[in-house]
Symmetry: C2
Subunit: 183 residues, 2 copies
Amino acid sequence: MELGRTAYVILGMLALGKRTGYEIKSLVDVSTRFFWAASYGQIYPELKRLEEAGLVRGELEEDDPRGRKGYELTPAGAEALRAWLTSSEPLHIELRHEGFLKFFFADVLDPEEQHEVVAQMRVQHETKRDRLLALEPGVRGATEKSGNRFPYLMLKAGIDYEQSMVDWCLRTERELATRPLEV
Amino acid sequence: MELGRTAYVILGMLALGKRTGYEIKSLVDVSTRFFWAASYGQIYPELKRLEEAGLVRGELEEDDPRGRKGYELTPAGAEALRAWLTSSEPLHIELRHEGFLKFFFADVLDPEEQHEVVAQMRVQHETKRDRLLALEPGVRGATEKSGNRFPYLMLKAGIDYEQSMVDWCLRTERELATRPLEV
DNA sequence: CTGATCATGTAATTCGTTACATGATTCC
DNA sequence: GGAATCATGTAACGAATTACATGATCAG
């Protein structure tokens, strides 16, 4: 049974507890979104497919005029999640970075414009880093309650990642300023 | 005039000299592919569109039974490239990393399996780093001849990027081995 | 002469985003 | 009462990959 990565995002989120599609999307937006995004247009149809495949079970909340539908993992779903987590298939790893792309072509620019490319990129990574930093206290608290520590470790990895991008920008800005013509 | 990022990959490559679609694709595969990929299915149609828009000019090589078509930038194309390079529109920056995704959900695994997730990821980043390292001598040589130094600087940035991913993996593997249950 | 590479292109499909449509609830 | 948020879903669109089809040239 071939499942897309979005399916595993959903299975993984359900492994942490019963959730509605809306809740999954909200969670993704403050967690995995940093390295794996997902939209409503993927989540709702995928939940339906996963239910047909017997990997999740959806239950309409009784007496709920909103028609909320909470989903939970079936044993088969938990098994599919484990199988993916332990599989040795090559990992899909992909970076799309317009800042790097501009930097690559920056030879056609003047020195100040070259500097600006890196500065613009730095600002965006600083913003991202700060947004992640702001999540830290909340996630640390949730970790203690739930006992799940990997989301917190991943958040810290994300902060380190953004910081190392910022550091590269700062280093490069310095280099461009001091030795504008050497390799 | 709204252009996709793939259009700028093409314009940027043509700014470095006259090229065929095939040559653009080959160049992308050993350079920008690391942070911005492009396939034939994008390049050939996009070249046609750019020609219609007057940003590139394609010329069929004479007496060439292969029907090769070399493209070069028009002044308007060079201007469009510069406009994009100096624009302050937010940069499209996106990471899709299945290893991080697995790590995020790794609480359901046993300690050895958790370790394996990180090790698998490390191997892939080591491989990528080594592939980039192998390109270094060639790119350094090309830099001296062409005078374009940013492709070389970008290659070094790519090597650093992969190395910092490897370092994170090594650090995390050590942490998982010594303090398997703490945050 | 044969396989690898050069060379151009299209069609089908997949993946994912964005916008839309609808309605309930909660907070001020 | 009104705005923000909760909540589910679909449709249209766009971006990109993969597979396919075709043929020339070059190195051994």
